[in-house]
Amino acid sequence: MPAFAILRRDLMRLLRSPLRTLFLFAVPLAMAAMFGLAFGGGDDPEITIRVLVYDEDQGLLGQLLQGAAGGAGEQLELVAVGAEGLEMIERGEASALLHLPAGCSDAFLRGEPVTLELIKNPAQRFLPGVVEEGTAIGALILSQISRLFRTELEELAALIEGDGVPDSAAVAVLAQGITDKLHGVERFVFPPVVDLEVTTREATAAAAAPDVGVMAVVFPGLAFFGILFLAQAATRDILHERASGLLRHLLTAPVSIGDYLLGKCLSVVVITLLGFTLLVLVGAAAGVSWGPPPLVLALVLLASLAASGLLLLLASIVKSEAQQDALGTLVIMASSMIGGSMVPLSSLPAALLPVSRLTLNYWAVDGFNDLILRGGGVAEVAPNLLVLGIAGVAFLGAGAFFLHRRLVSGVVA
């Protein structure tokens, strides 16, 4: 059958030109590798923020800080240092150095201005920022406490500074005063004006979600991005064969235009499918846990079909290889930008999501996200499979129809 002979020939051409074939996959693989290297490979690293504390005060604020650090668990490590802390920061041994100057706790209790000094590690980009934000929030909370409980804090300072054990009655009066003040601001403070609600559903989903790395987030989108380019190269061949006279010569054999197009459609789909499969295997080797193989296979198959159909349709409406290069690249880049191949779907602005859903990238990437990030199954992926399947068949059908009409009028008529 001529269609299979054409398919075999096109696959043979890929094998005979391994460098060209590898180049086709180079872009998505290189981008995924860059993301992987930037974020430390496939496993999600346990991040611990190391903060040096140079406490010259040795008072209340230092104790409050230690208490807060205990609540942060293993993610925050406070290391008490002396004046050598600055050198340690310069050597990159911590993310930041927090300096509590002598007398700052007393000043706080007296309501006087207190300045805390935070020195960030310039060699790190993100973690010192986290420390800075956390410190700023802590300072804000302390400032509000200082304003609200000014009188009580002064009495507390007097009690602490007094000789011997504080009088029980004085402590009781102080406690009563704090309680009365809290009642006064109850409607503003309890409940807070802006509440953080942690629902059971989110907590369960978070608990059930597989432990994934950065590669798992970025690789599927980049793989589909690469597959679109692969489909573009495969469909471009039709325009090349037409322009070079190879198609006209082919038609001198017992081959109809229908046979030819069937063979080329098969070639494009099979090449795209093989490419996607290869990228999935590379992703797996890089640590991506794709999910249940049958669902992954179905998603890869239908995503390849849809990508092939889209680029075949584009090839049917352009007049030359140069036009297909321009239009194809424009469509691929635009759909990849808004469809989740370059920016994670969860990071896209809500207003963009309706447009994003018009792209094949969205349905492919969202399907893989269901499997990889959300631990989804058939029910979750079914809509994606349906959309990709329908789009693939429709695009391939329309592309083949228009190409047949153009080839008959351009070559034979």
Binding site: R13, R16, R248, L250, L251, T252, A253, P254, V255
Partner: protein, 309 residues
């Protein structure tokens, strides 16, 4: 074997082929001779079924090309003017693909590939990619693809354009062998020496129309010219004119100091009768050569101009 009837084709109002008709008998080498743009390739494309005629029809072995395209194309081998090979496949891969389109498989396909490569002198280069070939080698591979399935009719569209003399001789030799084995050959060219050397019959085509058609001898006679005599010696123009012009049976085409060209009248008394009279008298002729009239003369007679590239 090939019957072409009133073929006509227009492109955007420009008539490329206008009422072309001819027949080619089985085992014959038929030439279609004409300048570039005369309509040769368009005619060939309509004959091999890749270009639909505006009017007229083509029968190959009694079957209409457009009524039974696949059946007819199985009998055809086509060697296009363009190099129609895939540079990223080896020569064998190209032939394997082409053979599979014609239904060849397995050992038979392999044997045919070996045979075809040997025939055109590429047996040693079968596993190389055509991008490493010279222009002549690519042309021979192009020819190979047309021969692989042993077609009953071979259509060649200017197969020697742009190749060196040695490769050209190889191509012409292969075509002769194919024809000798019983294959019908339709050969288009704008090289008159090739047409003279190769073709049993030929048609001269220009501006989409067949100007004349027949064997080489028939065409020469149609043009009304016999042999051409070229004289050289120690004589001046005036003396030569006085001596040669009155002789019956020749026509003075050119005369100068020391040389003269005359055409022998086909209806006249003939060379043996004329020659003694040419040499008689005071004209000091040192050398006489006799040449057959060329297709160039015929083309000039038919169109009023030389055959252009």
């Amino acid at each position: 074997m090939i019957r072409v009837e009133r073929l006509r084709k227009e492109f955007d109002g420009l008539v490329a082929v206008d009422g072309v008709s001819f027949t080619v008998e089985a085992g014959e080498i038929f030439g279609l001779l004409g300048p570039n743009g005369a309509g040769k390739t368009t005619t060939l494309n309509m004959i091999c079924g890749v270009l639909k005629p505006g009017d007229g029809r083509v029968l190959i072995d009694g079957e209409d090309v457009w009524a039974k395209p696949k059946e007819v194309k199985r009998k055809l081998g086509v060697v296009p003017q363009e190099i129609a090979v895939y540079d990223d496949l080896t020569a064998r891969d190209n032939l394997r693909f082409w053979g599979s389109l014609h239904g060849l498989r397995g050992a038979e396909l392999k044997a045919r590939i070996d045979e075809a490569l040997s025939r055109v002198g590429l047996a040693e280069r079968g596993d190389d990619k055509p991008k490493t070939f010279s222009g002549g080698m690519k042309r021979r591979l192009n020819l190979c693809m047309g021969l692989l399935h042993r077609p009953r009719v071979l259509l060649l569209d200017e197969p020697t354009v742009g190749i060196d003399p040695q490769a050209r001789l190889n191509v012409l030799e292969v075509v002769r062998e194919i024809a000798a084995a019983g294959t019908t050959v339709l050969y288009t060219t704008h090289y008159m020496d090739e047409a003279e050397e190769l073709c049993d019959r030929l048609a001269i085509i220009d501006h989409g129309k067949i100007l004349t058609l027949g064997t080489l001898d028939q065409l020469r006679r149609l043009a009304g010219e016999g042999e051409v005599l070229r004289l050289s010696g120690s004589f001046d123009q005036a003396a030569a004119s006085r001596h040669l012009a009155p002789i019956d049976g020749v026509k003075l085409l050119h005369v100068g100091d020391g040389d003269a060209v005359l055409a022998l009248d086909p209806a006249g008394p003939g060379l043996t009768a004329v020659l003694p009279r040419l040499l008689d008298g005071d004209l000091a002729v040192a050398d006489v050569s006799v040449q057959r009239p060329s297709l160039q003369n015929v083309f000039i007679r038919l169109t009023g101009r030389e055959l252009r590239d």
